[in-house]
């Protein structure tokens, strides 16, 4: 490598570093995003530290103390069969976070690959992928996951599959429009001219440029999938009791709303806080992005 190439590479690396620093500066200036980051760290820490925290067994019941209201010795109170709600909520964090994370990883990676293919190659394959996307987009996300769950059946893996698959169409659309933007850039044309293969160009030149918006979209989707997975749990179509998943806890406790509202109050509060933290972080990341790309990202809702 001669001296000049080295200098160019160094400059490029510096430029990339400055860009990252700029993004971080913009993110940091956003108070909401920082609050979101703190809230989320708290929830994650709670999920990690759960095994060593001095909590009761989340599955141990005690019928003598059923529906005990919150008190100093038992902060969140007890549920219908006397299980400690605090330890169930803490224990449930890993389900909500885990389901959301895995389904987003599943949905985004499939959507990313299909979107890259659809956008880069165009032609008939683009046409087929886009028509299928049309069909999937004609379902509200929650309805699509319910349809898939009603076929696949309940259970942890099926929930992740159903929720993950129902996020794919939006990722395909996002990636495809990003690829179409990048495809006409000079460096892509240059790579094509010197005879680089299409897979090489996609991975080397296009993927790095579509990745950050996809990540930002995923942050929003983390918030949404937490709501949807818990919603499925609430309907009885998600993770099944006695697993302390937050949505399932609300579904099981709703009968006691008239006498003991504390049974559903705390799991719901944690769903809200977790979803809120992802939405706050998403807003911060989105505003830190390039404005041309920003408009393509969809704020997602049930």
């Amino acid at each position: 490598m001669d001296e000049r190439t080295k200098v160019i590479i160094e400059r490029l690396q510096e430029a990339r570093k400055t860009q990252m620093l700029l993004m971080w500066a913009r993110f940091k200036a956003n108070i909401g995003a920082l609050i979101g980051l703190i809230l989320l760290s708290g929830i994650i820490l709670m999920a990690i530290l759960e095994p060593i925290l001095p909590l009761e067994d989340p599955l141990a019941f005690n019928l003598g103390k059923s529906l005990e209201p919150p008190s100093l010795s038992c902060l969140f109170g007890r549920d219908e069969i006397g299980r400690d709600i605090l330890s169930r909520v803490v224990n449930g964090a890993k389900y909500s976070l885990g389901i959301a994370f895995l389904s987003v990883v599943l949905g985004s990676s499939i959507g990313l690959v299909l979107g890259l293919i659809s956008g880069y190659y165009g032609g008939w394959i683009d046409n087929i992928i886009q028509r299928v996307t049309d069909v999937l987009l004609s379902f509200p996300t929650l309805l699509l996951s319910i349809a898939l769950v009603s076929v696949l059946g309940v259970g942890l893996t099926n929930i992740i599959l159903s929720v993950g698959i129902s996020t794919i169409p939006v990722y395909i659309r996002l990636t495809r429009s990003l690829v179409l933007q990048v495809k006409s850039e000079e460096y892509v044309t240059a790579a094509q001219v010197i005879g680089k293969s299409s897979p090489y160009i996609i991975i080397r030149h296009i993927l790095p440029n579509v990745l950050s918006p996809v990540i930002v979209q995923s942050t929003y989707y983390m918030g949404l999938t937490i709501l949807i997975a818990a919603g499925l749990g609430f309907l009885g179509l998600g993770v099944q009791p006695p697993t302390p998943e937050w949505g399932a806890m609300i579904g099981a406790g709703r009968t006691y709303i008239f006498s003991s509202p504390h049974v559903v109050t705390f799991p719901g509060l944690f769903i809200f806080i977790t979803a809120l933290s992802f939405n706050l972080i998403g807003d911060g990341l989105r505003d830190a992005l390039d404005p041309r790309v920003r408009v393509l990202i969809k704020k997602v809702k049930i």
Binding site: P140, L143, L227, R254, G268, I271, A275, N279, I302
Partner: protein, 316 residues
């Protein structure tokens, strides 16, 4: 392109999507674990009985023939018979649909009645504390587990204050809590759009003119500002009707509101596959139609949007 031709072309474009939905639902139900004929006959039924039902339903024919049968009866408006009720699926859906429509309309009304004033307030001083209202409301809308919010509202208004009923649909009072719950999903967007378009409208020349005429601030805001900000607000209301469908499933379950969402959840528990299939196809069709109607209204209201929309359609 005339408006009339635009409408026709949009409807034609929707046909392949609709066909796709029907094929998807057909395949999904056919790959189900378990034999629908056995399900209908019940576990105690003899093998001959199950075989008879299989024949009756055409389940012994090859798959493509089954699809053609299914599709032609769909064209006649026949979605099959519900396993649980024994009645045509379309009748069940039509009996419940008015309830979902009622809920959707009242929620939208609540969202507008609360959202537009909040939007105006946060637009008047966008960088003050009140300016943050729109951000907060829209964050709540996208982060709130509405089934939980519904339960909390029951705990407050039905249990503590005892002023509103918690379940069912007997009296007009019954719709208040479910509609309020569903409205939180919609409010965020309405507040945001109202804020944005009010800020724009308040900077326009006719508002400046109105001010310089010495009109009161109230008149300026309501008569000259808001009126010009209404188009985007109306549009977003239409677009949201679609996302109402998803929220309705959860809200109807919380409040035992007898709409299609509750029917869907019930039919999943009864494994009433013809009903599940019918409801999902119905839901998706409504969703597509709503999107088309919104696009057409869009084009009808604002000629500038009309131009770009039609150009976009031609490009696709």
């Amino acid at each position: 392109m005339s408006l009339y031709r635009y409408i026709i072309s949009r409807l034609i474009q929707a046909l392949p999507t609709l066909l796709g939905i029907i094929i998807l639902m057909f395949i999904l139900v056919r790959v189900l674990p378990g034999d629908p004929a056995r399900l209908i006959a019940g576990l105690e039924a003899s093998e001959e009985d199950v075989e008879r039902i299989r024949e009756l339903l055409g389940l012994n024919k090859p798959l493509y023939l089954q699809f053609i049968d299914y599709f032609t009866s769909l064209l006649r408006g026949d979605l099959g018979k519900s396993i649980k009720f024994g009645t045509p699926v379309i009748n069940e859906i039509m009996a419940r649909f008015p309830y979902t429509v009622q809920l959707a309309i009242v929620s939208e009304l609540f969202a507008v009645l609360i959202g537009i004033p909040l939007g105006i307030i946060s637009a008047i001083k966008p960088y003050s504390k009140t300016g943050y209202i729109s951000t907060v409301v829209s964050l709540i809308g996208s982060s709130m587990p509405i089934y939980w919010l519904g339960l909390m509202l029951i705990a407050l208004f039905s249990v503590q204050l005892k002023i509103l009923p918690s379940h069912g649909a007997e009296t007009p009072k019954h719709i208040i809590l479910p509609a309020l719950t569903l409205a939180t999903l919609l409010m965020g967007n309405i507040v945001r759009i109202t804020k944005a378009s009010m800020i724009e409208a308040m900077e326009s020349n006719h508002v400046i003119t109105a001010r310089s005429k010495g009109l009161s601030e109230r008149v300026v805001i309501l008569r000259h500002g808001l009126r010009n900000a209404m188009i985007p607000i109306v549009t977003i209301m239409g677009i949201q009707l679609g996302s109402l469908l998803g929220g309705a499933i959860l809200t109807e379950t919380v409040f035992a509101w007898p709409g299609i969402g509750l029917l869907l959840v019930d039919s999943i528990f009864y494994r009433d596959y013809p009903l599940i299939q019918g409801i999902i196809i119905f839901f998706a069709t409504i969703f597509i139609l709503l999107n088309i109607i919104v696009d057409i209204l869009y084009a009808y209201i604002d000629p500038r949007i009309r131009e770009t929309l039609w150009m976009k359609e031609q490009r696709l």
